[in-house]
């Protein structure tokens, strides 16, 4: 499945006027391809991700997921899309303090209707895929920053999404661990035929991307096409 953001404009209230965060932005994410979105702080990268994740509704434009426009869906419908079709990896490895690594994944199955044996097996398989099978019973405070980020990636894949949205996955990691996370995202994107969009400020990781989109002052420019 593909995700296409077509001519998306997003503004926020700013005093008496409005601040343009995204200005007629178009980005196409294809299955099996990793799209890196780069740009300086405040350029609109995270706003782009929030629009793609249906967490915010743009002023205009389309957000197409396999041909279906997500703009205009009700809140409940958008929640359902996030639960079933979009995986989200947060910037600061946001995990739930009371859950073990394995439960961080099985909670996704619970949200979708119930924890089955198959869901448990899939969670274990995903933790293994991100190299954390031996840490399945650890809680967030017992994991390193890199390990926590791997858990959030595995959680993002739990409900078998077609799109994976990743927000600054290396911002809290050193260079070596950051590179490892990008390697992992690259591998998972290919293996699972994901349309992956990674927002990053770190241009060292662009070699992992099939497509690079630069955002400056809310305007997007494709630097390298897939």
């Amino acid at each position: 499945m593909t995700m296409h953001l077509n001519d998306v404009t997003l503004t926020y209230p700013d005093g008496d006027g409005r601040l343009t965060a995204l200005d007629h932005v178009t980005v196409h994410a294809e299955p099996g391809a990793l799209t890196a979105v780069v740009g300086p702080s405040g350029s609109g990268k995270s706003s782009l991700l929030a629009v793609a994740a249906t967490l915010i509704t743009p002023d205009s434009g389309q957000v197409l997921l396999d041909g279906t426009d997500l703009v205009g869906l009700s809140r409940a419908q958008r929640t359902s899309v996030r639960r079933k079709r979009i995986g989200i990896v947060f910037q600061s490895a946001n995990l739930l303090a009371s859950l073990t690594a394995l439960e961080q994944l099985t909670v996704m199955a619970h949200l979708a209707g119930g924890v089955t044996t198959a869901a448990g097996e899939r969670a274990a398989e995903l933790l293994d895929a991100v190299g954390l099978a031996a840490r399945a019973d650890r809680r967030p405070h017992q994991l390193s920053g890199g390990q926590r980020q791997r858990v959030t990636i595995a959680r993002g894949l739990m409900n078998d999404p077609s799109v994976l949205l990743v927000d600054e996955p290396t911002s809290a990691l050193d260079t070596e661990r950051g590179a490892a996370i990008l390697d992992l995202l690259r591998r998972l994107t290919t293996e699972r035929d994901l349309a992956t969009i990674v927002v990053t400020h770190d241009r060292d990781h662009l070699a992992h991307a099939d497509q690079v989109v630069e955002i400056t002052d809310g305007r997007a420019r494709v630097l390298a096409a897939a």
């Binding site: 990268k45 991700l49 915010i56 409940a76 359902s80 910037q91 303090a97 924890v115 927000d167």
Partner: protein, 353 residues
């Protein structure tokens, strides 16, 4: 309850503290309920246990309420009530407070003076006899066949029966002829205990200058009962309100603290309904545990205390207050639900503006 149960286990200290607060409040409310019922029973059991459905009082003066201490029903009115159509039975009772003496011992009693053929006492009482409640007989150290002095009149103890009391004093059933001299009309009754049947009570009251109320409503005519019971019920009500506020405050703070996690769950697809059910379920588990433990402790303490103080231990004084605390606790916890509904999942994306 996937996350809620794991939160309860993970944040053990926090929830144990709150559970302890709920337990202590339940302990206090249940003990107070048992004591209120016990004191109330000591005050009114002789009235509530009467074999009657209504009590007839002398009509009070305008602006006043009926009162056991002020009601005087002359013999003529008593006689007239026996002729009211539909009334199945009429039993005059003259009641008051007195002392009973046996040798060196004495105790205060509430005397209930009735006619020789009355079926109201727990055992038949004739002229020259007294039927003592168990507490009075224990205080005096007497048994059936002994002689005691009631208000100076020597009477034989016909029977020791029942545990009824009135205005915190055990009851002594005597014959009307033996009632202690108080200066009042010796033929007058305080109230009439009746089985009203299909009688037109308002019409009879209007004709005979009386006021008839149900036995339950007559309890407010015992001055000490309404003031004592009212104070204790007020304390109980305030405790229940405080518990709802405390629980509401706890869950509000808890919800504020876990707002980032709520935002994450919403962002990854948790519906608001799912999160609300999770939160209510968490509060319910905490309340069930806290009130269950508190009620069990109170029942144990109440069982021990009932030997020394008036205390009623039954479902109405244990389970009912505990259930009420659960309901009010959930109402308090519901105050935090609005916050859950309003958490914006966008905040999970920390850098989004």
């Amino acid at each position: 309850m996937f996350v809620a149960l794991r939160d309860l286990k993970f944040a053990k200290g926090r929830f144990a503290l709150m559970g302890a607060v709920v337990t202590l409040i339940t302990l206090l409310v249940v003990l107070l309920s048992g004591l209120t019922a016990g004191l109330g029973r000591e005050n009114v059991s002789a009235i509530t246990d009467l074999d009657a459905d209504h009590l007839v009082f002398a009509a009070p003066a305008q602006g006043q309420d009926i009162s056991f201490s002020d009601s005087v029903i002359p013999a003529g009115t008593q006689e007239a009530w026996t002729g009211v159509d539909g009334v199945a039975s009429v039993e005059p009772i003259a009641l008051g407070m007195s002392r009973v003496e046996s040798g060196e011992r004495s105790t205060g009693v509430a005397f209930f003076a009735v006619g020789g053929s009355s079926t109201l006492p727990p055992a038949a009482v004739r002229g020259g006899e007294v039927v003592l409640a168990e507490q009075a007989a224990e205080d005096l150290g007497v048994v059936a066949g002994d002689t005691v002095a009631v208000g100076g009149t020597e009477l034989e103890v016909a029977a020791v029966a029942g545990r009824d009391s009135y205005s915190h004093a055990p009851v002594a059933w005597i014959s009307t002829a033996d009632r202690p001299t108080t200066g009042a009309d010796p033929t007058a009754a305080t109230v009439l205990a009746i089985h009203a049947g299909a009688a037109d009570l308002p019409a009879a009251d209007a004709d005979l200058g009386t006021e008839t109320v149900t036995v339950a409503d007559s309890l407010n005519a015992i001055g000490s009962y309404s003031s004592e019971n009212g104070s204790l019920q007020l304390m109980r009500g305030l405790l229940l309100a405080i518990s709802a506020l405390v629980i509401g405050a706890f869950f509000t703070v808890w919800t504020v603290q876990r707002s980032p996690e709520i935002a994450i769950l919403k962002a990854v697809g948790a519906s608001t309904g799912y999160l609300l059910r999770d939160a209510v379920g968490q509060a319910f588990v905490l309340l069930l545990f806290g009130t269950g433990l508190g009620a069990a402790l109170a029942a144990g303490l109440g069982a021990l205390a009932s030997a020394a103080v008036p205390f009623v231990l039954d479902p109405a004084t244990v389970l009912l207050p505990a259930a009420l605390l659960v309901v009010l606790g959930l109402v308090g916890a519901a105050a935090s639900l609005r916050r859950i509904a309003t958490v914006d999942p966008l905040t999970a994306l920390g850098s989004a503006r």
